[in-house]
Symmetry: C2
Subunit: 214 residues, 2 copies
DNA sequence: TAGATTGTTAATCGATTAACAATC
DNA sequence: TAGATTGTTAATCGATTAACAATC
């Protein structure tokens, strides 16, 4: 059970699989499973056991020969790899339906995302209470970022405002932006994760057309 | 400008890039660009021109030597590959904030998704009008699916109800399910696309931790 | 025609899988 | 101890890139 020290550089394709490992380990913990082999876990996830062991080996050694993995330990390890051991203070900009959906989504708080400020430009919304927070005017966003130490910005505005909001967030010192607006945003020195919600629909259409019921 | 006939089998990794091609072509069309080379388009997208040409070659021949691609023609071709030339009749189950956000999301109608029925189990919601549709009780879902020809089901319920809803949808003959509930669903003979909204957040955390501002 | 750029083939690179020594 | 299963090395497979003949 050793996590490699220092910054880890795993191939991007492995990084993309990490959330899947996380999800399945949460499921196992909930079921009360204490021990699992790479064979069983990989079967659950629809990958090979070789790939599972290879993937994990980028980050350290978490199992025990002849025994497998202790679910709790592997879960802890994946959490640490993903950076889930800490709380991330976040602001959300754009308190429409999508923004509200995210604020009410349990998994976010569970995973360490802690919304501390929510902003909109609609005067009719400002002052309203959503998910325990009062909606503030976007005009106050820069000063809010200045006085609070915010690491994550969530953009749930229309596409037209997204880039401008991203620049304010970057200027305010956020480290990461989670962008739900259907457009690319471009800011230096900030990690950006684009949700691209619509992409899933296009893939669904493609598979419906070409796999036609298989 | 020829699209290969019949069912296409491109590697999954190519299929996953198709929505990106689509998005960038929409952008070019909006800008009024009429012609583009693989070199320019690939640079826009952050891939190599070789990869772009290789990807497209799975589906047909869409360019012209010495000239490049006519944006409109390539756009049309990608639409046909993705199956966007037709309308998909859809039901949405779970009229919470996320469901409302999707119903109001322009891109869906633009891409040929046409919601014709929305369902919830909350009696307080039934009868309410959302996005031009009246919320019906989930109890009516089976009979609605029986009398209307529905191809796509969208699940925006809590995790606990998702599997049950998926089975009703499958039983009602839908061809594809777009699942936003944070859990896997399992139904035979139906294409399922899981949104896994939370995965993006975990990847953001990972990159913030390991790329630390780069 | 000369220049540009495609579609495709061949070369390279990287990711997945198989196999196994180490060992619990 | 015998059986099971890891972490890792080597082999295979597939995806990306480079190169170029075809041709607009």
């Amino acid at each position: 059970m050793t996590l490699k020290p220092g910054p880890i550089m795993a191939p991007l394709v492995v990084v993309r699989r990490l959330p899947m490992y996380y999800r399945h380990l949460v499921l196992l913990k909930e079921k009360g499973v204490e021990r699992i082999s790479s064979r069983e876990l990989s079967r659950m996830m629809g990958i090979t056991s070789s790939q599972l062991r290879q993937d994990l080996s980028y980050f350290g050694e978490f199992g025990q020969q002849g025994y497998g993995y202790r679910v709790g330990d592997l879960y802890q390890a994946i959490c640490e790899i993903l950076g889930l051991e800490k709380e991330y203070r976040a602001v959300l900009v754009g308190v429409g339906n999508l923004g509200r959906a995210l604020l009410n989504y349990d998994n976010f708080r569970k995973r360490g995302l802690s919304p501390v400020g929510i902003f909109d430009c609609d005067p009719g919304l400002i002052g309203e209470k959503v998910g325990g927070l009062v909606v503030k005017s976007v005009d106050e966003l820069p000063s809010f970022l200045g006085t609070n130490d915010i690491e994550v910005g969530i953009i749930t505005t229309p596409a037209a405002s997204a880039q401008e909001v991203a620049q304010v967030l970057a200027g305010g010192g956020v480290k990461g932006i989670w962008n739900f607006a259907p457009c690319a945003i471009c800011v230096p020195d900030v990690v950006v994760e684009n949700a691209h919600l619509g992409d899933g629909l296009l893939r669904l259409f493609f598979l419906m057309k070409h796999e036609g019921g298989n």
